[in-house]
Symmetry: C2
Subunit: 347 residues, 2 copies
């Protein structure tokens, strides 16, 4: 009893018709008589016929699937983004195929090649923290393959890009720390290669500058894997808190950096905000329950997924010329809670 699917041929044979007639009847073609249509439709219904999407894909040279490449699914920001992606894709009749890079450049390249070898119609990418060489993506893009970047974008390619206003997120967060009375604000940052890291550090720097606080490079620590691994965060914080002039506050500029930073502070019994101010980027669904509740920069992940997918599907369906690319910037949200409030009571 092997799984055998019913095809148009089976219907044709059973009904004594040709496959083309059946095909046309199923697509409700005007050139088929009502009786034949009825016959075919009823029989198809009865035997539960479903067209084979693979055969269709081969014929139409499109799979109605889009690929997603992210570093980790099990990261609240990305899973929320994927949620948004899926919501639009589903509405537009597209499947969603997911691949993870685990922050590895090699794995990203493999995934891109595999997905793009004609089993997907377009690609949504947030590059890995190791990625510097973009040949694997440029190659595709130059051949006209639809690609949309989100969150972790790259400058060198002209296509749609959807990002959060990372500059503003970091600026606001830093300014909030400043307004709360902190003077020596250090930054826990992600991989130097990532656009988001650069943008966030720029926001941080500008906020310091606007408030006449000297910028010191020693106050910046990078974590190549974006804080995914606790030890890299531990090292970074050990370094920062061991400086001659110890920082009195920290801005953690990515999801995992924020949680692992909190873990470090708890382990070292450093209290927030009394001993150290803290603010972080986080899309976790629980930060409001922390005590003292952490002020966070939250990103509109779901919306980012939706928007990226809309743009990608426009590219795929050639609703607009490929060259007319967009760069959309979504606003982040600064959620103030008691943790960082010293001088200015908010909320």
């Amino acid at each position: 009893m092997k799984f055998e699917a019913v095809t148009i041929k089976d219907i044709a044979k059973a009904l004594g018709l040709s496959t083309s007639t059946v095909s046309r009847a199923l697509r409700d073609s005007y050139e088929i008589s009502p009786e034949t249509k009825k016959l075919v439709l009823e029989y198809s219904e009865k035997i539960n016929y479903r067209p084979n999407p693979i055969a269709l894909s081969l014929k139409e040279k499109r799979s109605r699937s889009i690929g997603i490449i992210v570093c980790e699914i099990a990261n609240s920001f990305f899973s929320q983004t994927i949620n948004g992606i899926e919501s639009i894709a589903y509405d537009m009749g597209y499947n969603v195929i997911i691949a993870q890079s685990h922050e590895s450049y090699n794995r990203e390249v493999l995934n891109v090649q595999y997905l793009a070898s004609r089993s997907i119609d377009g690609l949504l990418v947030s590059v890995s923290s190791e990625t510097q060489d973009l040949a694997h993506l440029k190659n595709l893009h130059e051949r006209g393959f639809p690609i949309v970047f989100f969150d972790r974008i790259v400058d060198e390619m002209e296509t749609h890009k959807v990002i959060v206003d990372n500059f503003k997120g970091a600026y606001d967060a830093t300014e909030h720390l400043i307004n709360s009375g902190y003077k020596h604000i250090a930054a826990l940052a992600g991989s130097e290669y990532l656009s988001i890291t650069k943008e966030r550090l720029n926001g941080y720097r500008k906020a310091l500058e606007d408030h006449s606080i000297p910028y010191d490079e020693k106050y910046i620590q990078h974590c190549l894997h974006g804080g995914m691994l606790y030890p890299e965060v531990e090292n970074a914080l050990n370094h920062l808190l061991g400086l001659p002039i110890k920082p009195d506050a920290i801005i953690a500029s990515a999801d995992k950096l924020t949680t692992n930073c909190m873990r470090y502070l708890k382990k070292r019994k450093i209290s927030v905000p009394d001993e150290l101010g803290l603010i972080g980027f986080s899309n976790l669904d629980l930060t409001d329950l922390l005590s003292p509740s952490l002020s966070v920069v939250r990103q509109p992940a779901f919306e980012m997924g939706q928007l990226s997918t809309e743009l990608l599907i426009q590219l795929i369906e050639s609703k607009r010329p490929v060259k007319d690319f967009e760069r959309r910037i979504l606003p982040p949200q600064l959620l103030i809670r008691e943790s960082t409030v010293k001088s200015i009571p908010v909320d």
Copy 2:
């Protein structure tokens, strides 16, 4: 400059060979001369040839893709499971196609039908909290389509199933509350239709029984959507805390129930564990940072994903007869933290 992929035919034409020779050379067939092989391989490499997986799928009647249906991707338990699924699928050369039911029966049916219409080779399912009628899955299963259930399984179908020992998880959690001195333990439960809800409530009941604590049905409140929506949790808790004999502790038997329960308690300024004991199922990556840190039952989500996928691929590749199904039960982890510790200091 439209995206045009290179095919075997192009290679054949360029090299003055037939498509079959090229095909065989690429697959390193023994019947092709070394020179021809070299020629073909080098040229393919040069023009960056990739076989069209869709054509292969059509020919081989397999897509090397597996489908996943879960309620929500943006739920730490499921995103961790998907991570495990992807890790195995990737190693075995399978793509992963994801669909969400959003706890809607209708959407689950649509997704199953769409995915199963021959674009996937097998299906990993965790049913929605609304699902009672299983026709959509039974239908497939009876026709020999490979299906593996994980976490939220169904009794009526004979196929592989991978679950966590929900009975034990809830039993241990309840017992921990009892040992911590609580007498009136209420349960915040998910949808009554779900296997996990039943199993967890059984564990809860048995623990009470073993400790000679009377079981009272009034102490159980169900949330159809598994706590996804705050109001349903709010209602449930309002009800429980409004009972004549108020419960002195609560076991929240699902991820979202746990977080929304905490949210409720914080809002109502009910302190844990002084006013109310609390323990919950949770796979969030942050519970250790809550204060008072919450004792939780954590499920081996990643392993569950891996195991389910291994079993599914065995089914797909007919490594074993379909009828020889397994039911694997993974151990949950009870993580004790200060929140529930009154009489017995642990950790």
